[in-house]
C-alpha cells in the first residue's frame, strides 16, 4: 500500500504516544500497529523501513524496527 499514507498513519499514532515519553511510546506504537494493521500494511511499512524509512518520526521508526524483529508475517498469499 502507498507508503505515504502508511507513514502518515504511523506518525499519527506516534503523536498520541509522544506525551507518554520515549520508553512508553515505542512499545505503545509497536503494539498498536501489531494489533490493528493487516499483514500487507505491516509488510509495506517494514519494506519502507528497510528502504531507509524516510519520513518516520524517531519513536515511530524505533517502534517499527522492534516490531519487525518480533513479527513473522506469512508471505503474501
Amino acid at each position: 500500500m502507498s507508503p505515504d499514507r502508511l507513514i502518515y498513519m504511523a506518525n499519527q499514532i506516534g503523536k498520541f504516544f509522544q506525551s507518554q515519553g520515549h520508553d512508553k511510546a515505542v512499545p505503545g506504537i509497536a503494539e498498536h500497529i501489531k494489533k490493528f494493521w493487516d499483514p500487507r500494511m505491516k509488510r509495506a511499512i517494514f519494506a519502507h523501513l528497510d528502504a531507509g524509512g524516510a519520513g518516520l518520526e524517531p519513536n515511530v521508526r524505533e517502534a517499527i524496527a522492534s516490531l519487525k524483529q518480533t513479527t513473522a508475517l506469512p508471505t503474501a498469499p
Binding site: M1, S2, R5, M9, Q12, I13, K15, F16, Q18, S19, Q20, H32, K35, F36, W37, D38, P39, R40, M41, L73, P74, A76, P77
Partner: protein
C-alpha cells in the same frame, strides 16, 4: 394471534417504596404511596370510567368522569387526582356517581358527531366506550344550539366549526371530534417535551391549537405521534387507520432506525401493517416514539425496492434479473476467482449496523471462516470505532455504562458532540423530562443545537471550534484537578493511582488551563470553569456523547478524555452517572459485539489470542487467520493499489456514507466484484456487479442491541418480499462459495453466539421471550442482564487514566479554505436517507442545506435560500444556504441525507489515529455563490442513471 391490549392504568406509576392499604369496592388494595385512587382501582381490576386520564401523563382532573365517593369525605372527588391514603374506603359505583357520570357524558356527546359507524376510530374510541360504560341512552340537548360539529348551523356558517387539518402526512386533526381533554397537549409537553400544542380560548371556545392556531405541519410539532396515541377519540388519527381500518393482530418488535431501540407493536391486518405503536413495556422507550419509527416505515413497500437478484459483468452494463442460484453462483465464481488470481486476502466484506445480530454474526463468520481472512469491518468504523478503542482502554469494555432509565436519576447531564433531539429523539424526550425536573445541562457542541434551545431547559453551552474536543476535555480536567474537585476516595479505590497521578500532573499544566486553551477552542474560560465545577460537584453527573466526539482525528483520544473525567469525579458505577455513547444506527452496538471489526472475534476478543481463536476453530471446524484484516478505509486504499478486489457489502451505502467520495469511487471502480446486499439500488450499487435484494426489519426474525446494550427481538410480521430473510441470503452465498452454514432459524444462530461469547452466555430467544429484553453482560453472574456496568470494579480491573494531549488536526483553514464545515443529522431523516427519503418524511427535509452565519454570508454576498458552492481540498458540491446564528462565525454546517448533495464529496481522508474513523466533523471549506450543480454532481447523476438501468426481461420461449 390477537391484538396486544395494553391496560391504561390512568395515571403514572409511583416510585415510592412505602405501601399504602385501602379498600376499594370492598376489596383490600395495597399500592405504593402517591398512587392515585384511579390507578389503585385499575390494579385491583375495577375500571373507573375516565376520559382525560392516561398513564403516560400526569393526572389533570378535567373530564369529571372518574368521580368516586370516599367514606367520611364530602363530595365526589376525581379519582385521578386524589392520592391513596391508608384506610380509605372508596366506592367507584354509586347511584349518585352514576347520575353524575351520565350527565357528564350527555354533555360531551351533545357536542360530538354521531357518525360512529363511518368514523376512523370506530372500534378504538374511548368516548364510545365510556358512553357505553356509563349507560348513556339519550342526549336531551339536541344539536341545534352552539356546537363545534357542523360546518353549517341553521343554514348559516358555523364560526365555531373548524375543518380537518390534514397537513401532517401521517395523521389528521379533526377539531369537530375533539372533547378538549387536553391529553394531546399534555403528551406533547410531558412525554415529548416539545410544547407545540396548547389549548386556546376558554370554556366553550377551548380548542386544541398547534402553535398559534397554525397547521400541524406549520407548527413546532415534530410529529412524534404522542398526541395521536394519547387521543381518546378520532380527533387525532393515523391516516393509515383511516384508510385501512382497525388492526386485528399485533406483534412486538424493535425499530430499525436509531440506537435508542424503541419497542413497537406492529399492528396488522393480515400481512398489511396498519400502524406502528410504541410499546409501553419497551424498556428503552417506555411507550414513546419519534416520527421515524412511528410513521416512516413506508419505505418497506416502496416501488423502488428491488425484489429480484441481479448481476452484470461490467458496471457499464444494465442489470440482468436472475434466479437466486444464478446470482449466488455468479458471485461465488467471481470471488473465488479473485482469490485465485490475487491471493486469499484480496476479498472481504462489510457487515451492517442496520441488520440483526444474527445476520452480522453470519457475515463475519463467512468472511473469517469462508473467505479465510479477517477482512471484515462494519459501518461502526465510520462512527463509533473510537468508542470501542477508548472505552476498552480505560474501562475494559466497549460499551455505554448505563441504561436509559438511569437518566431519571441524573443531576448534571453533559452532552458532547451529540444532538439527541434530532438523532436520538426518544432518549432526548426522556432527558428533557429530567431537565424540566431540575437537572442541569451542559452542551459542548459547535452549534446551538435543538438541545440548547429546547423549551423550559436552560443549558450551559460551550460552543467550541470543530476539532478542539481534546483541548476542551483536558481543560475541564484541569479545573477539576487544580480546584481540588477530584473524588480521591473513588480514584484510590477503583483506579490505578500512579496512572492517575501522572494524568493529574499532565492536566494541571498551565498550558491546559481554560484560559490558555481558549484561543484554540473559542470557549469562554469562565463558562468552561463553571461547567467543570457543575459536573464535578452537582451530584450525579452523566456524560452522553455522539459522533461529534468520535469522528475526528483525535476521536479515540476524546473518548479516553471523557472516561478520565468520569473516573476523576467518581461518576461511574451507579445509576444516574456514567459514560454513554449514543449509537447512530439501530444495531451499532450489536454489530460491534458480533465481531465485525477485523481485529476481534465476537465479544471483543483479539483474533491473535490463541485460546479464543481455537474455540471458534473447534466449533466452525476451520483454521482461522491470526492476523487482523483490513479496516474499511484500508480496504479502499488496498483496492486502489490493486490488492483488494472483491467486496460483499450488506446493508450499508459506503459510497454515500464514507468520506472523500471520489476516493471511494476510485476504490469501487478498481474492484472486480462488488456484491451489494440491500433493499434499494443505493449509491454503492452503481459500482456493483451483483445485487442481492434484502429484507426489511418487518420481514425477518432476529435481535438488535441498542445503545444501552439492550438485546431486543425483531419479529417477522410480513413474509420477505424478496423471498428470503437476509441471514438466508448470506447462507446461500456461503454455500455457493463452498462454505456450509446450517441454521433453521435465527434463534439457532443466537445459541451459537451464546456458546462462544462469555458476555452473551445467558442470552437465548426463550429468555428474551420471558423477560422482553436483556442487557449484556448476561451470563451466570448476571442471569437477567446488567443495567449498569462497572458497579464494584472496572471490567479491566483498575480504571486506567490516559494522558490525552491535544494534537491539532492536519485539516487546517487558510486563505483558500477559511471556514470549517461540520456535519450532523436532522430529526426527520436518517443517515444516508435511503429509508426516510422514501417516505413522506421528505416534507420536513427535502434537501440538505448549508447553515452559515449571517456575517460569513454577508461577506460572500449569499442570501438565505441561495445556491452556493461548497469547496474543500477533496471536492466540491452545491446546495442551498440557510442563514442562521446557530453556527458561529467561521463554522458552516450541513446534513448528509441526500445523494444529490453528497456532503461527503467534501470530506477528507483524515481519520482517527487509533481506528481510522474518518474525520467527518472538520473540513476546511470555502463557500461562494453558485448558479447550479457542480460538474461533479452532473457527472455523478449521469453515471448513476446509466448504472441503474435494468434490462427488460427476455420473452419466454
Amino acid at each position: 394471534m390477537s391484538l396486544i391490549e395494553e391496560v391504561d392504568l390512568g395515571t403514572p406509576r409511583s416510585k415510592s417504596e412505602t405501601m399504602v392499604t385501602l379498600t376499594i369496592d370492598g376489596k383490600q388494595v395495597s399500592v405504593p404511596e402517591g398512587t392515585s385512587i384511579m390507578r389503585a382501582a385499575m390494579e385491583a381490576g375495577h375500571q373507573i370510567p375516565k376520559l382525560c386520564a392516561t398513564d403516560m401523563v400526569d393526572a389533570f382532573g378535567s373530564c369529571r368522569l372518574c368521580l368516586v365517593e370516599i367514606e367520611g369525605r364530602a363530595g365526589t372527588p376525581a379519582s385521578c387526582t386524589t392520592p391513596v391514603m391508608p384506610g380509605l374506603v372508596v366506592h367507584t359505583q354509586t347511584e349518585r356517581l352514576k347520575t353524575l357520570r351520565k350527565g357528564v357524558m350527555e354533555l360531551y356527546i351533545s357536542d360530538h358527531p354521531l357518525d360512529c359507524l363511518t368514523c376512523g376510530a370506530n372500534g378504538d374510541c374511548e368516548l364510545q366506550d365510556m358512553a357505553g360504560a356509563v349507560g348513556l341512552r339519550d342526549v336531551r340537548y339536541g344539536y341545534e344550539g352552539e356546537n363545534h360539529v357542523f360546518a353549517k348551523s341553521n343554514s348559516e356558517v358555523n364560526a365555531a366549526w373548524m375543518p380537518k387539518d390534514e397537513s401532517n402526512p401521517y395523521f389528521t386533526y379533526d377539531p369537530s371530534k375533539c372533547i378538549v381533554c387536553s391529553r394531546c397537549v399534555r403528551a406533547c409537553e410531558e412525554v415529548q417535551g416539545t410544547f407545540a400544542l396548547t389549548i386556546s380560548g376558554r370554556g366553550f371556545d377551548s380548542r386544541v391549537s398547534p402553535g398559534m392556531s397554525e397547521s400541524f405541519l406549520g407548527s413546532e410539532c415534530v410529529s412524534c405521534g404522542a398526541c395521536v396515541q394519547a387521543c381518546p377519540t378520532a380527533t387525532l388519527t393515523e391516516k393509515s387507520v383511516i384508510e385501512i381500518g382497525q388492526p386485528e393482530h399485533s406483534v412486538v418488535t424493535t425499530c430499525a432506525y436509531c440506537g435508542v431501540g424503541c419497542a413497537f407493536k406492529a399492528e396488522m391486518r393480515g400481512e398489511e401493517v396498519v400502524r406502528m405503536v410504541p410499546y409501553k413495556d419497551g424498556k428503552a422507550n417506555r411507550g414513546h416514539s419519534c416520527v421515524k419509527g412511528r410513521f416512516a416505515w413506508g419505505y418497506t413497500n416502496h416501488k423502488e425496492r428491488i425484489l429480484k437478484p441481479m448481476i452484470r459483468e461490467r458496471i457499464e452494463d444494465p442489470w440482468r434479473e436472475v434466479s437466486w442460484d444464478e446470482a449466488f453462483s455468479f458471485a461465488a465464481t467471481k470471488m473465488r476467482g479473485i482469490q485465485k488470481k490475487y491471493g486469499r486476502d484480496a476479498i472481504g466484506g462489510i457487515t451492517s449496523s442496520r441488520c440483526t445480530n444474527e445476520e452480522t454474526y453470519l457475515v463475519q463468520k463467512l468472511i473469517r471462516a469462508g473467505f479465510g481472512n479477517n477482512n471484515v469491518d462494519t459501518c461502526a468504523r465510520v462512527c463509533h470505532s473510537p468508542t470501542g478503542y477508548g472505552l476498552a482502554t480505560t474501562f475494559g469494555t466497549s460499551a455505554g455504562t448505563q441504561d436509559f432509565d438511569s437518566v431519571e436519576e441524573t443531576d448534571v447531564v453533559v452532552v458532547i458532540g451529540a444532538n439527541p433531539a434530532s438523532a436520538h429523539p426518544v432518549f432526548a424526550s426522556r432527558l428533557k423530562k429530567r431537565l424540566r425536573q431540575g437537572a442541569k445541562l451542559i452542551v459542548i457542541d459547535p452549534r446551538r443545537t435543538e438541545m440548547v434551545e429546547s423549551p423550559h431547559v436552560k443549558a450551559l453551552h460551550l460552543p467550541l471550534m470543530p476539532g478542539t474536543n481534546v483541548a476542551v476535555m483536558t481543560a475541564l480536567a484541569h479545573v477539576i484537578v487544580t480546584e481540588g474537585l477530584v473524588n480521591e476516595a473513588f480514584v484510590r479505590e477503583r483506579c490505578d493511582w500512579s496512572e492517575f497521578e501522572e494524568w493529574a500532573a499532565f492536566v494541571a499544566q498551565p498550558n491546559n488551563s481554560p484560559e490558555a486553551t481558549a484561543i484554540l477552542t473559542g470557549v469562554d474560560p469562565k463558562v468552561l470553569r463553571e461547567a467543570a465545577r457543575t459536573y464535578a460537584t452537582g451530584g450525579n453527573g452523566a456524560i452522553y456523547y455522539g459522533l461529534g466526539v468520535t469522528e475526528h482525528s483525535q476521536g479515540s483520544t476524546t473518548v479516553m478524555a471523557i472516561a478520565n473525567l468520569a473516573m476523576a469525579t467518581g461518576n461511574i458505577g451507579r445509576p444516574g452517572v456514567g459514560v454513554n455513547p449514543l449509537r447512530g444506527q439501530n444495531n451499532v452496538q450489536g454489530s460491534c459485539d458480533m465481531g465485525s471489526f477485523p481485529h476481534e472475534l465476537p465479544g471483543y476478543r483479539h483474533i491473535a489470542g490463541d485460546a479464543v481463536r481455537e474455540q471458534f476453530e473447534a466449533l466452525w471446524n476451520v483454521k482461522l487467520n491470526p492476523e487482523p484484516g483490513l479496516r474499511i478505509p484500508n480496504m479502499f486504499d488496498a483496492a486502489v493499489e490493486g490488492t483488494f478486489m472483491g467486496l460483499y457489502v450488506q446493508g450499508e451505502d459506503i459510497l454515500q456514507s464514507d468520506p472523500n467520495t471520489s476516493h471511494v469511487v476510485a476504490a469501487l471502480s478498481a474492484m472486480e466484484c462488488v456484491i451489494v446486499h440491500d433493499l434499494f439500488l443505493n449509491e454503492t450499487a452503481n459500482y456493483a456487479h451483483v445485487f442481492l435484494p434484502g429484507s426489511s426489519f418487518l420481514e425477518k426474525d432476529g435481535t438488535f442491541t441498542n445503545a444501552e446494550r439492550r438485546i431486543q427481538r425483531v419479529r417477522k410480521v410480513v413474509t420477505p418480499k424478496n423471498g428470503m430473510a437476509d441471514w438466508e441470503v448470506t447462507i446461500g452465498l456461503a454455500k455457493a462459495m463452498g462454505f456450509e452454514m446450517n441454521y433453521n432459524h435465527p434463534s439457532e444462530i443466537m445459541d451459537e453466539i451464546a456458546a462462544l461469547t462469555p458476555t452473551f452466555a445467558g442470552v437465548s430467544y426463550a429468555k428474551l421471550e420471558e423477560l422482553g429484553s436483556v442487557q449484556w453482560p448476561c451470563n451466570e453472574k448476571a442471569p437477567e442482564g446488567t443495567p449498569v456496568m462497572h458497579i464494584d470494579g472496572f471490567v479491566r480491573g483498575k480504571g486506567k487514566f490516559v494522558v490525552t494531549e491535544y494534537v491539532a488536526t492536519d485539516e487546517r483553514t487558510g486563505p483558500r479554505y477559511p471556514l470549517l464545515l461540520t456535519t450532523g443529522r436532522i430529526l426527520s431523516q436518517y443517515n444516508v436517507g435511503a429509508q426516510t427519503r422514501r417516505t413522506e418524511n421528505v416534507v420536513w427535509h427535502a434537501e440538505d442545506r448549508l447553515e452559515i452565519h449571517p456575517h460569513d454570508a454577508e461577506q460572500r454576498g449569499v442570501r438565505d435560500g441561495d445556491w452556493v458552492r461548497l469547496k474543500s481540498r477533496a471536492g466540491e458540491t452545491t446546495l442551498r444556504a440557510e442563514i442562521t446564528d446557530r453556527v458561529a462565525p467561521g463554522v458552516v454546517y450541513t446534513t448528509f441525507h441526500h445523494p444529490d448533495t453528497q456532503a461527503n464529496v467534501i470530506t477528507t481522508d483524515y481519520s482517527d489515529w487509533a481506528t481510522n474513523c474518518p474525520e467527518y466533523k472538520v473540513t476546511a471549506v470555502q463557500v461562494s455563490p453558485s448558479n447550479g450543480p457542480s460538474d461533479w454532481q452532473k457527472a455523478y447523476d449521469a453515471q448513476a442513471r446509466h448504472s441503474r438501468r435494468i434490462a427488460p426481461a427476455e420473452a419466454a420461449e
